[in-house]
Symmetry: C2
Subunit: 180 residues, 2 copies
């Protein structure tokens, strides 16, 4: 699966929420997410532009755990990349297994995420601990043949929401690491 | 969790089954297991005596998938070692993630396993494709403080079943690899 994703910093959350409302875009989910990122023993994921994380989500007191691999971004404008995400039973066990096979926990990124659906795209309004609010708009494709169209579509949605700058290709992990 | 496990080659399956029957030991499960073993990019698991595998089990047409890490054996008589096993959603995704982060699939080990319970031990009668039948007897401990007692207990069960030799510390993977 290819994830086409563009992210922008939000200067005024109330303004965005009112625009979301005017476009009749509905929030369908809100959850807490804790992402524990790991570093590889053989490559520097920051340099290869990959990511490996364990995500714990909590929605209405129900927790779910996933392991996610993200491949290098395939273009210079967006965050289009391969993503493999899998449900797992337990974050402690997953973390232990990763450590035993040579991976090192780097940092935990915590956020509250509000999900909105607009046509085939998912809008996420993210309140990351330690960062300004951001909005991510993403769509998922079977392969990378159509990703340029999807990017165009996503930029159009940002425009409808009044967002024409503040785009950011760095991940929340990178933004937090760079603040150090 | 510490897995205390001893394995022996079975020369006569019918004889063992009749002894199991005489001891009133009941079979509680039978399943097909397909274990895909991976090699690490940083160490040779055959040398470090570790293992990483994806196990798919099928019992009454219901499939379950696990990822398992096994640490080095901690004594010379048995296969006592750390084991971390976790349910996962999908073997294809797990295999893809492991490949992306540098691990290489080595070999698939397929077997039919019959499970029997005897006191706190699990007896597994294993019919591995390409090998003679084996019986594994195992028990699981919280930590390694009591493993010598458990080993003694396991050898006693083998004795009750008439098995006093043919013990094998190599894994099925190693036995198959060595046959090459």
């Amino acid at each position: 699966m290819i994830e086409v994703e563009i992210k922008a910093k939000i200067n005024n959350v109330d303004e965005i929420k009112s625009k979301i409302n005017n476009l009749n875009i509905k929030k369908f989910k809100e959850e807490l997410q804790e992402d524990l990122y790991f570093q590889s023993p053989i490559v520097d994921f920051a340099k290869t532009d990959e990511a490996l994380r364990i995500r714990k989500t909590v929605e209405n007191n129900i927790a779910n755990i996933f392991i996610t691999y993200k491949g290098p971004k395939i273009d210079s404008e967006s965050k289009t990349r391969e993503e493999i995400e899998m449900d797992i039973e337990d974050s402690e066990k997953a973390s232990k297994i990763l450590k035993r096979i040579g991976f090192t926990p780097v940092r935990c990124v915590k956020k509250r995420r509000e999900y909105y659906q607009y046509e085939e795209c998912i809008l996420s309004l993210d309140f990351v601990e330690g960062l300004e609010p951001y909005m991510e708009i993403e769509t998922v494709l079977e392969d990378d043949s159509q990703y340029k169209n999807s990017q165009k579509k996503i930029f159009e949605i940002f425009k409808k929401l009044g967002i024409e700058d503040g785009f950011e290709r760095d991940s929340y992990l990178e933004l937090l690491e760079n603040k150090k």
